[in-house]
């Protein structure tokens, strides 16, 4: 006969939250910020091919921190959802808020009903247009969705990085300053992150339908110089 021990719901939630937080804290953090004409996504990522930042749709980008296999599956689902929605309706009907809500629901479900909560945090960024505002939606491991006003920090060390970055971001800067501040915030006072360990993507209007651009090492060095 199997014995079941009683675990209070409070304890269960606490344990699960701790588990997810620990998993997320093992990875590096990332910063997303609105700059004067676009949205910047910058992550500390020693791998050049296992990306944390990705294009999702014409004006929508994705970023994930934590366990790579878990957030990458969410990234793929997001691209499928966006392409499928645009195919069924129209390109302008693809909205970041709807996608962020789906992520929130899924993460919430996994947190309460799954074998284990997902050890990830997700960011959905949208570059504003005639129809929609520029938005940063941050979705936490337990499904909390936050609409961040100017910038968002994801990952284990988020609070410290957030404080460092907030001190420099009283006003909205151009890309160059925003990137410098974000990298300094990620690194902290005692550390220097080498350019190849930075993954940088932007959403910016360049006359094309697709606004996402991945910046290579040379472009990042140039902006940081």
């Amino acid at each position: 006969m199997t014995n079941y021990f009683y675990v209070s719901p409070e304890q269960l939630i606490k344990d699960r939250a701790e588990f997810a937080q620990k998993g997320i804290a093992r990875g590096r953090s990332m910063v997303a910020a609105i700059y004067d004409v676009g949205v910047l996504l910058v992550a500390e990522n020693p791998s050049a091919s296992l990306n944390k930042i990705s294009e999702v749709y014409d004006r929508i980008a994705f970023a994930g921190v934590g366990k790579y296999n878990e957030f990458d599956r969410l990234r793929e689902a997001g691209i499928r959802w966006a392409d499928g929605t645009g195919f069924t309706y129209s390109r302008e009907d693809v909205d970041a808020r709807a996608l962020a809500n789906y992520y929130a629901q899924h993460l919430g479900d996994m947190f309460t009903e799954g074998q284990k909560p997902l050890e990830v945090e997700i960011l959905v960024a949208q570059l504003g247009s005639k129809f929609r505002p520029t938005k940063l939606y941050r979705v936490a491991y337990e499904g909390t969705i936050l609409d961040e006003a100017r910038f968002a920090v994801l990952g284990g060390d988020a609070e410290t990085i957030r404080e460092r970055f907030a001190a420099t971001e009283e006003v909205i800067h151009p890309l160059k300053e925003t990137l410098k501040n974000a990298v300094n915030a990620l690194a902290g006072p005692e550390r220097n992150i080498p350019t190849p360990d930075l993954e940088v993507g932007i959403l910016e209007d360049r006359g094309n339908r697709r606004t996402f651009l991945r910046l290579d090492d040379a472009q990042v060095s140039e902006l940081l110089s």
């Binding site: 990705s54 689902a77 959802w81 392409d83 499928g84 195919f87 697709r210």
Partner: protein, 264 residues
């Protein structure tokens, strides 16, 4: 539509077509027949720096359904797709191809090779043509960045994909266009010569095939002409195409409706 999550064993991967089919976004097969307008003559000519494509703009049913159809579209920056056959299916096909190439790029953070794109379209054509009478036959032309050369692919009704090293035509005006191309094609054509030959072949098709629209001087509507080169997909301005067709038309007027002994 919820969040399309899949487990590893039934994940459709970076293929949008596969995903659309498994999730019911696109109809796998629609039986029955319906009369719908047909799209008609498209020509592609390979030359020393890329591929030229020319297409008429008429959709023909029992009557002329439209005079300004676009039968060539950019599938992405370096690839063009042209359609013949059922207009409705053709347009859906172009949309599927455009979306699929972009989808693959976003999912994998790398572009499909040109050959990969050509092969990807085969089962889509096969599925459509073997399950409905609404046949669609495309042409794919592109600049291959990894081999630094323009390439051209044609398909048969069952989805077979064949690379062509000279030229290809699709649509009911093909026999007439093909004759002109066979007489005028050389392996060392430059862009200007390829454009001229393409325009001439389309003029021939428009002149002889009732379902191909030639230059329309009354409405100022001219065939579409595009080049696909290292610089990507570029469409010629209507005025430039108009001038080209006007000069062919003038020459034919002088020689009484025939070419008059030379290919011109």
């Amino acid at each position: 539509m919820g969040l399309p999550l899949f487990s590893a064993h039934n994940d459709p991967g970076p293929s949008f077509f596969h995903y659309a089919e498994t999730s019911g976004l696109a109809n796998a097969s629609a039986h029955g027949s319906a009369e719908s307008p047909h799209a008609t003559t498209v020509i592609a000519v390979r030359y020393n720096a890329g591929v030229v494509m020319v297409a008429d703009r008429q959709a023909t049913g029992y009557y002329i359904a439209s005079r300004d159809v676009r039968k060539i579209e950019a599938a992405d920056r370096f690839t063009a797709i042209a359609i013949s056959g059922t207009a409705a299916r053709g347009i859906e096909f172009i949309k599927m191809a455009q979306l699929s190439f972009e989808h693959y790029e976003k999912m994998t953070d790398s572009s499909l090779s040109l050959e990969g794109k050509a092969n990807y379209l085969s089962p889509i054509i096969q599925r459509n043509n073997l399950s409905t009478p609404l046949i669609v036959l495309p042409l794919l032309a592109g600049w291959d960045p990894s081999h630094q050369v323009g390439r051209l692919f044609e398909y048969d009704g069952a989805g077979g994909c064949y690379e062509r090293f000279d030229f290809a035509t699709i649509g009911s005006g093909s026999p007439f266009a093909e004759s002109a191309l066979r007489l005028g094609f050389r392996s060392d054509l430059d862009q200007e010569a390829a454009l001229e030959l393409g325009a001439l072949a389309l003029y021939e098709a428009g002149d002889n095939d009732p379902a191909t629209g030639g230059p329309d001087f009354v409405r100022d509507l001219f065939p579409m002409m595009v080049t696909i080169t290292e610089a990507g997909f570029q469409e010629l301005a209507s005025a430039e195409v108009g001038a080209r067709f006007r000069s062919i038309n003038d020459r034919r007027t002088q020689s009484g409706g025939v070419a008059g002994g030379t290919l011109r």
